[in-house]
Amino acid sequence: MNHLHLLLADEDERFLRSTRTMLEKRKLNVQSAGDKQQVQRILEQKLIDVMLLSVSLPVTDGLEVLRSVKHEHPLIEVIMLSPLAMAALAIEGIRLGAFDYLIKPCDISDLLTKAVDAHVRKQANQERIRKATIERIVSHPMAALE
């Protein structure tokens, strides 16, 4: 039941289509978005574990999207995607809370490895939160209402 729910956000339509097909072949549940509005719509409706985010996503830039995603859904792990020339932006993404970055064009197996790592971290974080919640409630059930 622990399928990885991935959101691909990139301005390049062709990249989106090909990557999505390759990932779906590997049994991942993939959503794709081409700009900030689509990202927001998907995040509101779907459960997402890991997001691959291009630094040059249209409307605002990728870092702006990263900031808002991390603010609204802190548990979603984000991997920045960037061409070599813009690597500095991808790295700045890490400061803003991205899990990792990938330089485009990237190998699908690299992408998959990093996505799975990110998913593992998200699950570990959720598990930690659950444990802490339970620990707090055991002393007094009233803590559940906080």
Binding site: I91, I94, T133, I134, P141, L145
Partner: protein, 625 residues
Amino acid sequence: MIQRHKLSETASPKPSTILVVDDEDHFRTALRKQLSNRGYTILEAKTGRDAMARMREKLPEVVILDQEMPGLDGVETLRGIKQESPHSQVIMLTGHGTTSAAAEAYKYDLFRYMHKPCGIEDLMKSIDAAIREYNAGSTRQSDVRVSPRQNLLKRMAGVHNLRPGVLLLGLVVFGGALLLPASENVAFQAKAMTGTLICAALFWATGAIPIWITSLLIGGLMNIFGVLPPDEIARAYTGDAMLFITGVFVVLASVMRTGLDRRICSLLLGAITSPARLILFFGPILAMGAAFFPEHVLPAFLLAALIPAFGNLVSETGVEKNRQLAVMMVLLICFTANIGGMGAPTGGGKNAVMMALLADYNTPPSFGRWMGLGLPLVPVTALVVSGYLWLVFRKAITKKTFGDLREIREGLRPTGRMTPDEVKTIMVMTILFILWIICGNKYGLSGPVVLAVVTLALLKVVRWSDINTIHWDVIALYAGACVLGKGMAVSGAALWVADGVLALSPASLQTTNGLSLLAAFSSGILTNFMNDAAAVAVTGPVFLSMAGTDPWKIGMAAAFAASFSHMLIIATPTNAIAYRLARSPEIGTPLITIRDFFLHGIAVWLLSMLVLWGWLFLGSWQWAE
């Protein structure tokens, strides 16, 4: 660009301080000129150590840091700076940087990374951004410190573990109890004890102060008002039953550490191969398990595994029947686990408290005796409850939803063979139960469990660090409950309240059967509003003091009914965990609501109570004798 720069200056009336750290003198001088012209205060440092010294004089908003320097290098200096002043924003400059060095630096909260030589306008942009980030960071912190003004009602309600209003109410009630009109047959100590009882019940129920403080407060008040001499109070805090429940918690700590709880839960879930088995086996077997693994151990694990999985499923498919099945499973787990508490003295702190109370009136039942009286009741009640839930939710159990449940179950299968530590724990526990059942009369409750703890420690299954994970505050609550019971009995307060109850109740209820009905009813109601053990401590002494020569039936009826904390989500940790996990943000719409608990809780409470009353009336007690 210039406009933006001006904006940031007007935003902060004080000129921002910038620390420039670089070993090249001419670069520093050039940068200082540029920055001073723009109205910044400049500090300079030649090396990393130099920079740290400067930071101690004055904390800069922004640090411009060269990556390659003699002595401390850029990343080391960055770490030092962040330790000294976490809010200061660092911009790192480098002539020969690689991205991997940058990635390393970002781990330590670097603000930005720039290549040297960089245009002064680019640098200014970064400095502006860094100052904004610095200001945002310090406001975030001051947000935490300055609490907004609250109205009086909110301030009185307070927060969990500090509720001034309830404390005040407690004080008033206590004072009121002391000032009750004097009467010949009621000692002053009895009034003080009654006031203590109400205060303790109030504080435990609302979480007005941490539960362990309430527990200590009881002993403190009893000392001040001379209910018992200090030595006796200390003895009431400990005793066989308390050492027993502490030992049980240590054994459970090793169960959880070895992962045995995970394996047991997987086995339990594995039993759900058909809807019939879900109803007929899962509930009763979980209930029996909960009799030997007290409190939240089994249900917490099951809920933590099932609720997120169901949450995923429901938000993915949006099928209403899946949600219904999830609600049914959660309620089934909570209700049957609560019911399991009746089965054995290990079923929870409430049973230990009842054992301690009975020890004051008479000899308490042995472990095996309790099991003989309580355990048969567990599967029967659990079956009735499962049957009710099946009737209500039967439409949600379809081939499709059951298939989904099976898929969830597959994801929770135990992995690998049993570890040696798991095997050791099982063996020690088996021997422990045999000792309890066979030698209970001789060694009491605590003797065997202390031996078990020693054995587990010698086998290196349990370590001191595991013992430290025990919730000592909960154990303190049980101990406080025992002291409360003892104080009620000794001071005559229990008898006083009991006289009141007798005066109010019809003559037909003033038999052993009638009183056990009343005891079960009162403790069954109270347990929904406070900790189970606290409910036993409040009702137990009162009803035991009416019991005459044979207090077992009445005492155990009260202890059994204390397991029926089905209605409110705050009635027991298990319910609260279910409610809280079902509201986790990753689940989307909450899986289960307060209303679900309340409505089905009332029905299940009534059914449980009927089974218990039937057991008291229809002579199964005599049969068990």
